[in-house]
């Protein structure tokens, strides 16, 4: 059983439901059942319909709640399904302040779907607290953070924004995908809702599409539960099981990838063909100190600008080891081109204003030997 005294690495293995009570099986069974028998009309079973509650999904939901130090956890069909569900805590007429370099899919949801439901949003540079304060409107109900942000790895001071929000009665939501609870536990810093695209580091194998939400308290948990069941945006039993399987190795994967990322960032910084490197662990990162205060590590994603779209294209054509694809946070290294992939949904002028230039690429370091990865990148940058 998990308890608060234990180290994170122990909690990853012993989260509470890791052993099946009926058979003693060392892995949670996959309950591929949509419905459950009521043995007694007056004493309904704990689970009656899998959308409302499934034992496999529930084990995962308790697992992530333990890891994030929250009250309740919830699993969704994708990171965007989790984000969609979280935003539906708001109602028509409400306003939300959002970090400006938010994931492209979140930007699209807010500007093409939620706007039609009269949920208003303002995008601000959250590294500048004054901008956040200025975005406040009489109908502001929530603040949505992503730190480090994607792909330029800007750092938001979580405790500062959370304390200010709490004073004003605003709900705080934070996308913790890049750091995972191994490095960063926003609820401990005062955040109300933590969201994950669990497709990334938590699962870690580019094989599961999943989203997670953790709430700081029970009452928010009940509201999210009502939405999860009402909207039906749930994660299946098979995917829930695969995600738990991935999470068991989160810490060892994160440690190895991060070591590689730090070495890669330093190497890139010294490379004459690279104009700019974004990594919170670099000494010259403008808010590296704030990141170090709120997070135990720097993560495995490094973004860098090779100067032009033409150079980026050439390099992407020459790399051999990382897969060139969208997504990140996997055992295999993934090289992405945000302008045409994760941030393609963002208008060009908005994208450029946010530093997502045509020369910017994002490197998600996997578990390959870092010297192999660097050698490969060296030949690719020889253009």
């Amino acid at each position: 059983m998990a308890n608060s005294e234990q180290d994170f690495s122990t909690k990853l293995i012993h989260f509470g439901k890791e052993i099946d009570k009926t058979t003693g099986a060392s892995s949670v069974p996959i309950y591929q059942a949509s419905t459950f028998h009521h043995f007694d009309l007056d004493n309904p079973p704990a689970h009656d319909y899998s959308r409302s509650g499934n034992p496999t999904r529930e084990a995962l939901e308790e697992y992530i709640a333990v890891l994030e130090g929250g009250a309740r956890g919830f699993a969704f069909a994708s990171g965007m399904a989790a984000i969609s569900t979280a935003f539906l805590l708001l109602s028509a007429g409400d306003h939300v302040v959002v970090t400006e370099d938010v994931y492209g899919g979140t930007y699209r949801l807010l500007t093409t779907v939620l706007n039609r439901l009269n949920i208003d949003s303002t995008f601000v540079d959250m590294t500048d607290f004054e901008q956040v304060k200025m975005a406040l409107k009489p109908n502001t109900k929530a603040v949505f953070m992503e730190t480090p942000s994607n792909p330029t790895l800007k750092i938001t001071d979580i405790a500062e924004i959370a304390a200010w929000s709490k004073e004003l009665g605003l709900l705080t939501m934070l996308d913790n995908t890049f750091m995972t609870p191994y490095h960063q536990r926003p609820i401990e810093l005062g955040v109300d809702i933590v969201i994950h695209s669990a497709t990334k580091f938590l699962s870690g194998h580019s094989d599961v599409l999943a989203g997670l939400i953790v709430t700081a308290d029970e009452s928010l948990g009940r509201r999210v539960k009502q939405l999860q069941n009402g909207l039906g945006t749930v994660l299946s039993a098979q995917e829930s099981w695969l995600l738990m399987r991935g999470m068991k190795t989160l810490q060892v994967r994160m440690e190895a990838s991060e070591k590689g990322a730090a070495k890669l960032a330093a190497w890139l910084q010294a490379h004459p063909g690279v104009e700019k490197v974004y990594y919170p662990g670099l000494k010259d990162h403008p808010r590296g100190d704030i990141h170090a205060k709120q997070s135990k590590g720097f993560g495995a994603v490094v973004s860098f600008d090779v100067g032009s779209g033409e150079r980026a294209r050439k390099m992407l054509g020459k790399v051999k080891l990382p897969i060139v694809a969208v997504s990140l946070g996997a055992v295999e290294s993934i090289l992405s081109y945000p302008a045409m992939m994760s941030h393609a949904a963002m208008p060009r002028e908005v994208r450029h204003a946010r530093g997502i230039t045509d020369g910017l690429v994002r490197y998600s370091v996997g578990l390959e030997d870092i010297d192999d990865l660097i050698r490969d990148l060296e030949q690719a940058l020889d253009i």
């Binding site: 028998h37 009521h38 599961v208 599409l209 989203g211 009502q226 909207l231 098979q238 969208v326």
Partner: protein, 386 residues
């Protein structure tokens, strides 16, 4: 090609590399780009996943649709469809409605200024009166759940078209094997594929089928943006279930008609709601617009006190929510599926404390009749003794 053949062959010729007759489960979220700006057609599995795509194409083909979209549950499919609408929009909806749909409309969408009116969707005049400047669509369940009310799809779709409204039909209970609403003029078909399409009470899934290029494009955008998509394992399991849809539906229909006839003749039963029975008000329309009957129906006991002991004495038939599986399930709508609908509306449509819904499985009919018969007898004995 006949639908039985199309069902049996779902995905069987989709993997030319190996010739596998079952399409592989692509448990992959990301897809390598051959070159920058070039794609294999797959980039990120939320947007498009190979296994899900084969399912979606098969589903679209069965309903004669232009597009198919697989979602994480029937409610997720409905949520995605409802995201077509904006603040100020209004929907006209079947009165006898699935509780989850009612909850979504009244507890969630109402917060965004999307309103709904509930009406007998056969009553065009009543619907005409409910129209507002914001009306955008009609949502029909036919047969309805649990009272098996039948709506004339062609008539409603033609009326909706004349008003510029979308017609959305929940085809969960009949499936495309028995009824194809898009052919009758509907624009969108939705399925809780958890039910007959999956057929084994093991997969939670929803499907959306759309007619027309513009609507299909819009739905694809929402499907990707909201992200409530179906995973590859469940996509495979759903296709596996669909291969036996025709056989299962034939047996479900046979068993449910026999069971309904038997209950109709039972002295403890007040009424049986089954469109195959000639006295059912929707009998003629149902015969015209669909090629058969589904496996569920409902019946009302004469005495409410019999309900609890009947459920307790069943040995073979499970007392559980959901429907459409190979195993028989008995549901008590007032406290299960329709618990979220206010008592006043429930009573108006007839979902009261004497109503039971029977999802008849594919067991032998004599065993089912024997089990329910014994449970009713035991219940009657108990209340007489009390």
């Amino acid at each position: 090609m006949n639908i039985e053949s199309r069902l049996a062959q779902i995905g069987s010729q989709e993997d030319p590399r190996t010739g596998a007759v079952n399409y592989p489960i692509y448990q992959s979220t990301a897809f390598r780009h051959p070159r920058l700006g070039q794609s294999t057609g797959f980039d990120y599995s939320r947007t498009k996943s190979p296994t899900r795509s084969v399912l979606e194409q098969a589903a679209a083909d069965l309903e004669n649709a232009d597009g198919g979209f697989a979602c994480s549950s029937g409610m997720a499919a409905l949520t995605t469809i409802f995201a077509l609408f904006s603040q100020g929009d209004h929907l006209i909806v079947s009165l006898d409605l699935y509780g989850g749909t009612y909850r979504l409309l009244e507890q969630i969408l109402s917060r965004y200024g999307i309103t709904a009116s509930y009406v007998d969707t056969n009553d065009i005049e009543a619907m005409e009166e409910l129209c507002t400047a914001g009306t955008k669509a009609v949502l029909i369940e036919t047969p309805t759940n649990p009272l098996m009310m039948i709506t004339d799809i062609e008539k409603v779709a033609a009326w909706a078209k004349s008003k510029g409204f979308l017609t959305i039909v929940d085809n969960t209970l009949l499936t495309p094997f028995l009824q194809r609403p898009l052919d009758l003029g509907a624009d969108i078909v939705i399925h809780s594929a958890t039910k007959y399409l999956g057929g084994h009470n093991d997969v939670l899934a929803g499907l959306i089928m759309t007619k027309g290029e513009e609507l299909t494009k819009k739905m694809g955008f929402l499907h990707n943006s909201l992200g409530a998509v179906l995973g590859p394992q469940d996509s495979y399991l759903l296709m596996r279930g669909m291969k036996t849809l025709a056989l299962r539906m034939e047996r479900h229909e046979y068993n449910s008609v026999k069971m309904a006839e038997w209950l109709k003749a039972h002295p403890a039963v007040e009424e049986v709601y089954h469109p195959a029975l000639p006295h059912h008000p929707g009998h003629e329309i149902q015969k015209r617009q669909s090629s058969g009957n589904t496996g569920i129906f409902s019946f009302r006991m004469k005495d409410a006190r019999t309900v609890e002991p009947i459920l307790r004495h069943l040995k073979l038939i499970a007392f559980a929510e959901s429907l459409g599986g190979v195993e028989s399930l008995l549901t008590y709508p007032a406290i299960q599926t329709h618990a979220d609908i206010p008592e006043e509306i429930r009573k108006k449509v007839g979902v009261d404390d004497r109503l039971l819904r029977f999802s008849v499985g594919i067991e032998h009919i004599e065993d089912l009749i024997a089990d329910l018969g014994a449970a009713i007898d035991a219940a009657l004995q108990e209340i007489e003794g009390a």
